[in-house]
Subunit: 325 residues, 2 copies
Amino acid sequence: MSFAFNDRPGLAPETRDRILVIARSMGWTPSWRARALSVSRALAVGLVIARPPDTLRADPFFPSFIAGVEGVLAEHGYALLLQLVASGGTGDSAYRRLATEGRVDGVLLTDLHVDDERPALLAEIGLPAVIVGPDLEEPCWPAVGVDDGPGVQAVVAHLVSLGHVRIAHVGGPDVLVHGRSRRVAWASALMSAGLEPGPFVEADFSAEAGATATRQMLELAEPPTAIFYANDLMAMAGIAVAASQGLSVPAQLSIAGFDDTELGAHLQPPLTTVTTDVVGWGRAAAVRLLDLIEQREPAALGLCPPSLVVRGSTARAPTTQVPAS
Amino acid sequence: MSFAFNDRPGLAPETRDRILVIARSMGWTPSWRARALSVSRALAVGLVIARPPDTLRADPFFPSFIAGVEGVLAEHGYALLLQLVASGGTGDSAYRRLATEGRVDGVLLTDLHVDDERPALLAEIGLPAVIVGPDLEEPCWPAVGVDDGPGVQAVVAHLVSLGHVRIAHVGGPDVLVHGRSRRVAWASALMSAGLEPGPFVEADFSAEAGATATRQMLELAEPPTAIFYANDLMAMAGIAVAASQGLSVPAQLSIAGFDDTELGAHLQPPLTTVTTDVVGWGRAAAVRLLDLIEQREPAALGLCPPSLVVRGSTARAPTTQVPAS
DNA sequence: TTGTACGCGTTATCAT
DNA sequence: ATGATAACGCGTACAA
């Protein structure tokens, strides 16, 4: 029986072998259902994705993230339970159900809102959880820190070194921590470079919103010479808007993204952006969550820092002012 | 007890109410683990994704598909178990494990290869499965038909009506059924239009491969005046390649994609493509699979047919031959 | 080493 | 017809 499989001490080797042979010959595999019941663990972790489908479609985050998570989970015999919540909320009820039904032993939290009530909810329920996102004010909660700061700083420094002075930002929703943190990093990087913050438009990470925001930027009396977008998708839409207005990128307008989408490298011009180790986050988050579930000491985990990828969409700032509109 | 929840006959209404009230006051929820054990069902279905992470990242298919699947499953109290297999195979062992451990009651099959051995494997194991993909030779197997034919035909018809004669195709891997089916549809559409098949390059759905294929096309002695790509990602990369070679799209080269990625609509020029109801496939696949698992008669399910979206990347064929290179 | 109680909802059986 | 009771599924863990 189970001793054989778990290779426990106190069992004659030959007996164990005999059992294993017979078991194999019968095609026996431990039933996961029974196992889950007896150890009173689900042997699964949940990932609730609360995002409008449209934003989700073009986002390279989740596939990579899930790949990282799943790799670790599989090694430990855990399964990944995916749940999408369509509505605008953060899916509280989904988490609650997952927890009370005992379907999962822990959950991963992404797309955290500022003042997100999910951590409190999960603490109340007593469900282990790992937050994936930029460091919060309360660092006590287990989280894999995804500090966008260095990446953003690298972009701004790059643009500053090219002589840009009016560096704009098209951000994600400010209620999302990773939207806000990128904006804050952008603002503080400008400040520490001695520049005043350029124009800022809040968008929602979608191409549509990126395009609209770009149009707004270009209609300004004093348009920026460089725009930094909170993700590649918006940046790519931005390049298209500039092109459609006869503005040449990067000669007249420099554009930088964030995420390093595959397509970005193959556009014309190829997109300057920031690579982030999303698979690594996934792995780290999974390791941390399993440590939490199995009450192990949290292992130290190394994450690749974000790194700037300079490509063709950024160049020296134009010496003459770009005429408005 | 369970009679109350399942609303079985043979129980006085007032007793049932009393039980429910007490249960609620105690915050009781049926344990999913015990339930799964006693009904000897996992109450979950599996989705094994066997794809290189890079191809996965930029693909809008899975997020939409999963959204569709998950919506249906949640309604029926089923969970979605996600598994990614990194290696090049189709993840046979992953399916086998899922089945023998009893973690799932059925699986969804995507990215089917020609001569895929998974259907046979699953039949042998006795695990209900629904294939998502173009109709196969053996229509006996439960599948949600994703017939790309009409969409491809619409694209070709559109290009033909614009006067194009040399219509090329950059396809997906020919070992994948949806790669092959699009190529076949393209070839037969050309044939029925009385045109000889234009040049064909097999790629792998990635932007990189799309770009390379496009370069090959444009180096031909007699380059095509229109290229139809098996997905938007390759098409977008194709537009960029053309642009970088000083070829104007659509004036000198028409380009069409397949999938209707969000970004496609916001590029310059916006991409002509085919919308497919991926969320609908997800829903249909889930419904079908649950019917199969619960041994119901398969419900008829309506799928939106693919539809052509004409945008700016296609135009009348140039009257003068495009000079090579 | 071997046997047995346990976890927990479901369902069939047995009284009432 | 209605309520109560027991057996079941299947590993696990502890006692014997």
